[in-house]
């Protein structure tokens, strides 16, 4: 069985077992290792990708159910060398520690800020309830998000 889908704007035909979680296909077959494979239980958010523009946990998505869908991974959101505004803010404010959670945080935040261009601090926290960080204590992440809240580049 072949599954055809778009990944980061490129059409892909996958012949692996269609029950394979998308995260394994991304990392092991397509070498898109920015998507993290951490809890594999839908709990931590580190494996978040966009499916038709919405953040989903790729550890729980059997790839065969994604026929015809449009997938964007963390590798697909920067414009060449120009990082996404949220990625850049995380670097500029020196927020990242081990980095395990950050791709997922960016994938959650990007559509959130597109739909909520001026969120409150609490709204940002609420948006991130499904993204676990074991290192930072979250407050600096929220600081970085609030620093880009009015940035106009957050589009998709």
């Amino acid at each position: 069985m072949t599954t055809s889908l778009m990944i980061n704007g490129e059409e892909r035909s996958l012949t692996c077992d269609p029950r394979t979680p998308l995260v394994d296909v991304l990392r092991n077959e397509l070498r898109l290792t920015g998507t993290r494979n951490v809890c594999r239980e839908g709990y931590c958010g580190a494996c978040s990708v966009h499916v038709d523009g919405k953040p989903m946990s790729s550890c729980l998505l059997p790839v065969g159910t994604l026929e015809g869908r449009d997938i964007v991974t963390i590798e697909g959101i920067s414009q060449g060398d120009k990082l996404d505004v949220i990625q850049q803010a995380f670097i500029d404010l020196d927020v990242i520690q081990c980095g395990m959670c950050f791709p997922g945080m960016v994938m959650t935040l990007r559509p959130f800020l597109r739909d909520n261009p001026s969120p409150s601090r609490d709204a940002v926290k609420f948006a991130l309830v499904g993204n676990v960080c074991r290192c930072t204590g979250y407050e600096r992440i929220i600081d970085a998000v609030m620093s880009v809240v009015d940035a106009t580049e957050v589009t998709e």
Partner: protein, 286 residues
Amino acid sequence: MADLPNRLERPLSVAAAIAALSGKTNKVVPVAGATWIMRAGSRGEKIDGTFVDLSAIPDLSDIDVAKDKVSIGAMATQDVIAKGLAGHADMAALMMATGYTANPAIRRAATIGGNICTADFAASDIVPALLALDAEVEIVSPDGTSLMSMAEFLSTRRSLGRAVLVTRIVIPRRLQASTHSRITLRKAGDYPVANLSAAITVAEDRTIRTAAVAVGGVEPVAKRWTGFENALIGRNLESGEFREIAGNYTDEFEGRDDTGAPGWYRVRLLPALADRAFRFLTKSTA
């Protein structure tokens, strides 16, 4: 990697799905949001069998809020249901059970059908909400379509057979208020240690006319709390004695032990959950 045939089928109609489920000798598994199925490894199980993916079947994901009933397709996801029910006080229990549980990415994937069909999932928030709202479950099998009460569905779901699909949930609308409360050990993403859904109708003098209360998480399968329900009839909502009344009826439950919490602790939470729910209802019906 070699092509592996027949590991996943994507039927385009309920009839084709039933045919796909019944026509096999090997294991076949209906797949909705896959959020339970894909966690097989964490339960010490294997992902196996042919997946029959229900996501390409039209008309299974809609939600129709009419005057006399709410009808929800089995493939409607938690976030769609929560949005669809927002602002309807009678449906608040289900709105809360779908909109404030799990996490946003899971709410976009997990379906109402997948939730209630997971017989091993004791801590479901959706099941007690549907019990309290007197929901009915539409089932399609090779013999046809039938409708059964939520309680009947819960007691028969393990023995319904492999070629049976839940296709729709139907909830009658009443002039009632409802709510759902839950207690977790930590916060986001946790299963509840215990949860409680309640739906009441109230007379003009603020006495409770009818009460439906269902408890989940405490026993292996959620159930109605009948002693407490009966004791509520005729009580004035403003009396505020709900914690005490609930405390008189906790012996209806035998708590289940697991690594998350001991059974006695789950039972002990019930008066607090009842108190929380009835404080909410006192305000929401004022």
